[in-house]
């Protein structure tokens, strides 16, 4: 077993192993139930598809106490596991939506190690998955090694009610801002090239306050805005096992959307110049899945939105223009069967919140958490529209949302440039 030490997130890791063509990293924290299967999938994927290459498996463990390390070592076997040691947070700093403390430090150590090993391709897989398969490694690495792509983003097949923050906010806004149609910009799995690894090390987001929750998204943004070749890899279904400290909806929303908004100010020159969006190639094909059988309580979601309108309207008026408040009032009075959140209204609301976030109209946590009832309203409307749809029909619906975000981007630019004019 090789040892890599890094006592500081800034210092580069010291590596005994000097070279590897491929590096696949597993990010883990108390994942004893799943890490063995994930490590075996990585080992088998490397052996099956990249047997002629020198490959290494890294494990970035955030201080598991449940035997995750032993399970991973056992699963990898003779191939050997490089266990990264890096500066871990002293204590769990609040609830994280992904349940992985010190994720940014882990990812930084992985990127530093890949750079030190002169790896031609690097991939990251989360250890909390039930669904990792050897084919994933091929899909994440091959586009970099053989097709010359720099960033491989996962493309998961998901039911209509899954990943709605991504479908309704992150993907449409990412796409409208940076002009790249990556469906999972905040994914916890990806593949990247040596060139992109070097670019990542030059980024200034590693030392931000919210890096632990924003790093996955910011890595995708760095790839999309740095002129790199991007593609998506169809990985099929993603089945995460929930970690011990699952964040509630409000926390998850605040962390993900906060990370997206935080990056806006730093990249204002890029997104204000970007027009339209371009599709990225998809490697492989995922299975078509039918309508999901989950019975979501839509009335409860809508009631949550109505309660939010009654009690938080005054707070919303700090960022939302009066006409939006009027539209929300009409929506709050609509019965279940006619409850429909207009796409342009939704896009405008998200842009107004992004603008308010960067203008610091109130503490960021208050602003972001006050978005939750609006999100539940949009969620209810979206599920009402796609509850009997196939995955391709859901994709079409998401495409309409994205087009609304692209159409409303002009509004965001106007607000950003002339804040008083639209007040």
């Amino acid at each position: 077993m090789a040892s890599i030490g890094s006592n500081s997130s800034i210092q580069e890791a010291e590596v005994n192993v000097t070279h590897a063509d491929i590096v696949v990293a597993i990010a883990a924290y108390n994942d004893v139930r799943t890490v063995g299967a994930v490590a075996r999938a990585v080992r088998d994927g490397l052996a099956k598809f990249f047997g002629s290459h020198e490959a290494r498996i890294l494990l970035a463990d955030a201080g598991s106490t449940d035997g995750t390390l032993e399970a991973a070592r056992c699963a990898v076997g003779d191939m050997g596991l490089i266990e990264l040691t890096y500066q871990r947070p002293a204590a769990m700093s609040g609830v994280l939506y992904h349940g992985h403390p010190g994720r940014a430090e882990a990812l930084r150590a992985i990127v530093q190690t890949a750079h030190r090993l002169n790896a031609k391709a690097c991939a990251l897989v989360d250890a909390s998955l039930h669904s990792a398969a050897p084919a994933w490694i091929e899909r994440l690495i091959a586009p970099v090694l053989t097709d010359g792509f720099d960033y491989v983003s996962p493309y998961y097949v998901r039911h209509a009610h899954e990943g709605l923050i991504t479908k309704g906010i992150v993907y449409p806004m990412f796409r409208a801002l940076y002009g790249v149609r990556l469906r999972q910009p905040a994914a916890q799995e990806f593949g990247c090239s040596a060139r992109l690894v070097s670019h990542y090390l030059e980024q200034n987001f590693w030392d931000r306050d919210q890096t632990s929750v924003g790093v996955d998204l910011w890595l995708a943004v760095a790839a999309a805005t740095g002129g790199f070749g991007l593609c998506e890899a169809a990985l099929g279904v993603r089945q995460p096992a929930s970690r011990e400290t699952p964040a509630d909806l409000s926390t998850t929303l605040a962390q993900i959307v906060g990370a997206l908004f935080m990056d806006l100010e730093d990249r204002v020159d890029v997104w204000q110049r970007t027009r339209g969006s371009a599709a990225v190639p998809i490697v492989g094909a995922g299975p078509e899945i039918g309508p999901d059988g989950a019975s979501l309580n839509l009335e409860r979601l809508i009631e949550s939105f109505r309660l939010g309108y009654r009690e938080l309207r005054e707070i919303w008026t700090w960022v939302l223009p009066p006409r939006t408040i009027v539209d929300l009032r009409k929506l709050s009075e609509a019965p279940l069967e006619r409850f429909q959140f207009d796409d342009r209204l939704w896009a405008g609301i998200i842009y107004d919140f992004a603008f308010g976030y960067n203008l610091r109209v109130m503490p960021p946590d208050h602003l972001l958490r006050s978005l939750t009832p609006l999100y539940t309203g949009w969620m209810a409307s979206f599920i009402l529209q796609v509850r009997n749809a196939t995955s391709s029909q859901v994709e079409e619906r998401v495409e309409q949302v994205c087009l609304a975000f692209e159409a409303q981007k002009r509004y965001l630019i106007s607000r950003w440039r002339w804040p008083e004019r639209l007040r």
Binding site: H161, E162, L164, N297, R300, L301, M362, R369, S370
Partner: protein
């Protein structure tokens, strides 16, 4: 005899004139100081209004939770309220200084004791302002949290938090001013303890079933599909 009367009259007149002559410069200086204080107060008020409006103080005060203070006064905006308060403080200080210039013993003592009291008043004011800001922030945080937890009486919780913090701030400020030093903590303790006891009795006796139902509902919710959905 007439000569004696005339001499006494002259002496009395001379004493009065001397006393008036001694007192008059003080009055003149006092009036001049008062006039200066009025002028300074007016100028400072006008300048403050302009500067604060230029700095968008009204909007910021609303965000910081200071708008409530302006609502309590007759002023229409926080910047006007601050300007008015400042001008009144300057005028009041001018009055105290002008009283000292009269060289009268009682007004001078009053002025000196008032000057000694000013730091306490400023500290109390700062406690009130800080309390107002903290109350507003905590109330908003409680409101958003309660709404996101789908609690129907979210507004009530928010108001309770706000007034609890405000009451603590007011009690601290009054204690700092030395007003009702022994009565206030007792009164506050009685009121606060009474509220907590009443709430505990209400929940424990009157709303026992409601609480158990709510807890059951809450525990049950965690296993519902809505909350197990992977949103990311």
């Amino acid at each position: 005899m007439w000569e004696q009367v005339d001499r006494i009259l002259r002496q009395a007149t001379s004493q009065v004139v001397d006393q008036v002559a001694d007192f008059l410069p003080g009055v003149v200086v006092s009036l001049a100081l008062l006039l200066t204080a009025v002028l300074v107060a007016i100028v400072v008020r006008m300048l403050l209004v302009r500067v604060l409006r230029g700095l968008e103080f009204d909007r910021r005060a609303e965000q910081w939770g200071l708008a409530g203070f302006a609502n309590w006064s007759a002023s229409s905006s926080p910047s006007l309220a601050v300007a008015r308060a400042t001008s009144w403080v300057i005028f009041f200080m001018g009055v105290l200084v002008s009283l000292t210039a009269l060289n009268a013993t009682i007004p001078s003592r009053l002025a000196m004791s008032m000057f000694e009291y000013v730091p306490h008043m400023l500290a109390a004011l700062m406690i009130l302002v800080a309390g107002g800001i903290i109350a507003r922030l905590l109330a908003r945080s409680a409101l958003i949290g309660a709404v996101n937890m789908r609690i129907q009486s979210a507004r009530l919780i928010s108001l309770a938090v706000k007034w609890l913090v405000l009451l603590v701030a007011i009690a601290m400020a009054l204690d700092h001013l030395g007003i009702g030093r022994s009565i206030l903590p007792i009164a506050f303790g009685i009121v606060f303890g009474g509220v907590v006891l009443a709430a505990a009795l209400a929940v424990g006796l009157g709303a026992r079933d409601l609480v158990s139902r709510t807890l059951e509902q809450k525990l049950d919710e965690s296993s519902r599909p809505n909350d197990r959905v992977d949103h990311v």
